[in-house]
Symmetry: C2
Amino acid sequence: MYSSPTNETPDDRTGRAIIRDEALRLFAEQGADAVTIRQIAAAAAVSPGLVVHHFGSKDALRSAVDRHVLDTFDRVLAELTDAAAEAATSTTASADGSVSADRDPAGTGSMAEAMLAHLPPASPIPAYLRRLLLDGSDAGTELFGRLYEMARATLAAMVAAGAASPGRDPATRAAFLMANDLAVLLLRDRLAGVLGFDPLSKEGMSRWATEVVAIYGGGLRERAATSEENRP
Amino acid sequence: MYSSPTNETPDDRTGRAIIRDEALRLFAEQGADAVTIRQIAAAAAVSPGLVVHHFGSKDALRSAVDRHVLDTFDRVLAELTDAAAEAATSTTASADGSVSADRDPAGTGSMAEAMLAHLPPASPIPAYLRRLLLDGSDAGTELFGRLYEMARATLAAMVAAGAASPGRDPATRAAFLMANDLAVLLLRDRLAGVLGFDPLSKEGMSRWATEVVAIYGGGLRERAATSEENRP
DNA sequence: CATCGAGCTGAACAAATGAATAGTATCCCG
DNA sequence: CGGGATACTATTCATTTGTTCAGCTCGATG
C-alpha cells in the first residue's frame, strides 16, 4: 500500500522523490544512523509524519535509498560501458550483474574516477557509495561483490590484450587493484587534507593517475618521464 | 578531579581501565555512536553511573579511548622502529612526531601489516584505527597526518637507497602508496568476503604482499616469477 | 454533486539514552 | 582508630527519537 508494487521509479516524481533525495543527501553526509526523521522532514519541507507515511519506517526509507543508489550505479555503469563500446564492437551485457570487460579508458581500470565524471559535481552518490562499502549492510556486500567481479573481468581483459600479467594469484591481484581504486574514494577528504587538493576533482584525478600509471606501468623504481625520454 | 592531572596511564589498572578497554572493544566493533553507556557498563560489569563518574561524559570517554589508542599506536610504532634499527644504526627519533625513515622490512613499506604483527590477534586496535581514519574526528586527522609523514619519509628513504623513484609528484606518490596500504585495513572484511581469506591474517598478508611486491617491483605487465626465472 | 482516497499536518506517546543526584561501601593516610 | 576521599550503586530526570493517530485538504471519479 505504501508504494506501487511493480516499480518505484515511474511514480517517483513528487513529494516522495523529494524526501528520498533529501534523505540520500543527509545519509551521505552524516550517515544514516546520525540522521533523524525530523531532519529529513525539515530538509524536504514536509512534516515528519509524511516521511513515515511514504516509506513506512526509517529503515524502509534507508532500504529505498539503498535501492535507488544501486539503480543509479547500474545506470551510470551502463552509460560507461555503452560509451566505451562505441570504439570497439563487443558483447555488451545488460546491467543485470554480468558485465563486459571492455572498458578501462584511462589505462588503469579506475572505476571510481570514471563514475565521478558521469555524475553531477555535487552529487551525494559517491559519498553514499562510500558508506555502503564501509558499513556491513547487504547492499554494500552486493555492491562490493559487483565491483570485485568488474575488477576481475577488467584484469582478465587486460591480460588477454597483453596489457597486464595475471600474476601468481589473479584473484588477489584484481582485489589489490580494486582496493587501490576504492581507497581514493574512501579516503578522499583525508587525502585532500594532506595533499592540498581533492584527489577526485578533475585536476586531482590527473595528478593521481599520473603516479598510478607510472607505478602500474613500470614499477616503483622506473624513473619519471619529464617531457620526452620515454625509453629507459 | 576526575582523573589524575599528570598522566592517565599510571593510575590505569582498576575499574577505570576495564571500562576503557570494554568501551574500546565495543567502539571498534559497532562505532562509538551506536554504543550506549549502558552497554559499556554491562560489558564491564559495573553500573552505568560509574562510567560517567570516571570519565565525565560519553564524549569524554570517547576522547579518552582516542588518546589511549593513539598512545598504543605510538608505542607499537616505537617497537617497530627499534626492531628495525637493530640491523642498521641510525638516528631513531622518539615518538613525538618526527620519525626516522629506516624501516620497510617487507620492501613495500606496509605499515598496517607490520603493526598487525605487533598486536594481539584479537586486538580491537586495528578496527578502532580504521574508524578513526574514516570518521572526521580530530584524532583521525592527527593519525592520518602522521601516517602520511611516515609514508613520505619512507618513500624518501627508498629513493635515497635507490629502491624507488620519487615520481613526478613525490607527495602524491607517497599518498598513493599509503592509501593502498590502508585500503587493506579499511576493506578488510569485504575483501575477506570475496577472496575467501582474511588479507590481514598471516597467510593473507603473504598472498597480498606477493602481488604488491610484483606490481611495485616491475609493474602490471611483468610476468610472475613461478619458482626460478628472475630475469625477464 | 457526493464520495472516496491519497497527500499531508500537528499533536501525542512509548521507549531509549545521556546525565545528575543521593546514598553506601571501601580503602587509604594521618 | 577515624575521617575523608574515592569507588560504586540505584534511582530519577529531561531530552530525543521513531512511530502512531485523528483529522484536514483537495483532486479525481462514478
